[in-house]
């Protein structure tokens, strides 16, 4: 254990010396890629399942039980498939995040008021424009909830992957510091990661609350 002042000092030292820049960039880039993948794919899969009630009914139990399975146990499988490196980490992060996005997209589309769907028919919009111009904004509050969860889950997947087996990254640096008895690096990087996660999470929660407020739901 070292006092908080020293942890902050260690973090400052790491940031100023720039010795961890590669690891920080590695984690940030991979996490962004995984988040983008889960949000984009999750939205389209969610919209597709929403449009096909038959398929949705079949997949529903799978989706609701998904997070009951420790998804992380598939990381070794991903390592075997993609090798140790960026792609297996990104795949892990996306696997963690995507289902939250799918589920929230479907919930969001379910809650779109019927009058909006009728307006779309009156305006003779094509199904795609109907989805993007009317349903997407109307479902926004739930989509933001999905984004928030997808971000949190993707970060967990990627950092955990870096911890277990990876070539670089913030998680790797923390685990390495631990194995090296380098407590200052370990706590410093840990603090950095916690600050990043809390900042992103706080910003998304704020955005979510504002949207919920504006759309007058819950």
């Amino acid at each position: 254990m070292i006092p908080p002042t020293e942890i902050a000092g260690a973090l400052w030292h790491i940031l100023v010396s720039g010795k961890a820049n590669n690891d920080i960039a590695f984690t940030v880039v991979n996490t962004s890629a995984a988040i983008a993948l889960s949000i984009v794919l999750g939205f389209w899969l969610g919209a597709a399942l929403h449009a096909l009630p038959r398929a949705r009914r079949a997949f529903e139990p799978l989706l609701s039980a998904y997070y009951a399975v420790p998804v992380f146990i598939f990381y070794p499988v991903l390592i075997v498939a993609f090798g140790v490196g960026r792609s297996s980490l990104i795949a892990m992060g996306a696997m963690f995040g995507i289902v939250a996005m799918i589920v929230n997209t479907m919930t969001g589309l379910d809650r779109v008021p019927a009058v909006i769907a009728k307006t779309a028919i009156v305006m003779r919009l094509s199904p795609l424009r109907r989805l993007l111009l009317l349903r997407l904004p109307a479902a926004a509050p739930h989509l933001v909830t999905g984004i928030k969860l997808a971000v949190a889950y993707s970060v967990i997947g990627i950092v955990a992957g870096e911890f277990i087996l990876a070539t670089a990254g913030i998680g790797k640096r923390i685990a390495f510091g631990y194995q090296d008895f380098d407590n200052r690096t370990m706590y410093g990087m840990l603090l950095l990661l916690l600050i990043l996660v809390m900042a992103v999470n706080g910003a998304l929660s704020h955005w979510e609350k504002r949207l919920h407020h504006r759309f007058g739901q819950q």
Binding site: M1, R57, A58, F59, P61, L62, A65, Y67, A68, V69, P70, V71, F72, I73, F74, Y75, P76, V77, I79, V80, A81, A152, V155, I156, V159, A160, F163, I164, L165, G171, I174, A175, G177, Y178, N183, M186, L190, L193, L194, V197, M198, N201, G202, S205
Partner: protein
């Protein structure tokens, strides 16, 4: 046959077929065949090594669940009953729940050493927050008239909790417990993958390091089935309680 069961069968069959196709496409170096994986899983189930690992994981999982659920219930109950404390704690719990707790494992290892205790502690910090959050919200959402009735009847605080609050809040609390148990299992397995000397997670990372594809797939499959079984049981329990309520 009910349509849901039919769907589930089609889904399982589709999953097996795509697995087999994937195997034929990329080969045994990357994906192990469904049949080989199943037979390896059966061999594992017959061997003693697997059960030693399973016992090690199971003991940690059991203790972590008990401590996490009990702690989460107490914490959630206390925060749910005191509005101000709950308002203060709500965002804090939410944030703590969303941070990647794996980063805290080294600290836990420094405190407890590489031991069963460390694994349990790590499982507990995963499970305690969802249980606390759900319990807190459940207690807060109990209809005010129930609480007022309890006060009118001059129930003691313990009697209020046991006879009024608990029955009213239990369905929601069970959802929290289900999620808590799921993430506790995740925590225990991550702890074993990162650093431990026994357990299924340890066996899994050992197989990964020596690139034993069949073992990786067989262990993953067994863990997957175990997690699904637990979740199904809890779902059934939850539904039964909801029917009673």
């Amino acid at each position: 046959m009910k349509p849901q069961k039919y769907d589930a069968l089609v889904l399982a069959a589709g999953f097996l077929v795509s697995w087999e196709i994937l195997y034929l496409l990329v080969g045994a170096d990357v994906v192990s065949a469904p049949a080989a994986t199943l037979s390896r899983a059966v061999t594992l189930l017959r061997g003693r090594n697997f059960w030693n690992d399973a016992a090690s994981t199971g003991i940690a999982f059991g203790y972590a669940c008990i401590i996490g659920i009990a702690g989460g219930l107490l914490l959630g109950l206390a925060l749910g009953l005191h509005r101000f404390a709950g308002d203060v704690a709500d965002p804090i719990l939410g944030t703590v729940y969303s941070i990647p707790k794996i980063t805290l494992y080294p600290i836990i290892l420094l405190i407890f050493g590489l031991s069963l205790t460390a694994k349990i502690a790590f499982g507990v910090i995963h499970g305690i927050f969802p249980v606390a959050i759900f319990t807190m919200n459940a207690v807060r959402n109990v209809a005010p008239v129930h609480r007022r009735t309890a006060r009118t009847l001059r129930l003691s605080p313990v009697a209020t909790v046991v006879m009024v609050l608990a029955p009213a809040a239990i369905p929601e609390i069970l959802s929290g417990i289900r999620i808590g148990i799921a993430v506790t299992l995740l925590g225990i397995l991550i702890a074993e993958l990162f650093a431990s000397s026994s357990g299924i997670g340890f066996a899994l990372i050992r197989a990964t390091e020596i690139h034993n594809v069949v073992d990786i797939f067989a262990l993953t499959l067994l863990l997957f089935l175990f997690a699904v079984a637990i979740n199904t049981l809890l779902h059934i329990a939850e539904r039964r309680v909801r029917h009673d309520a």
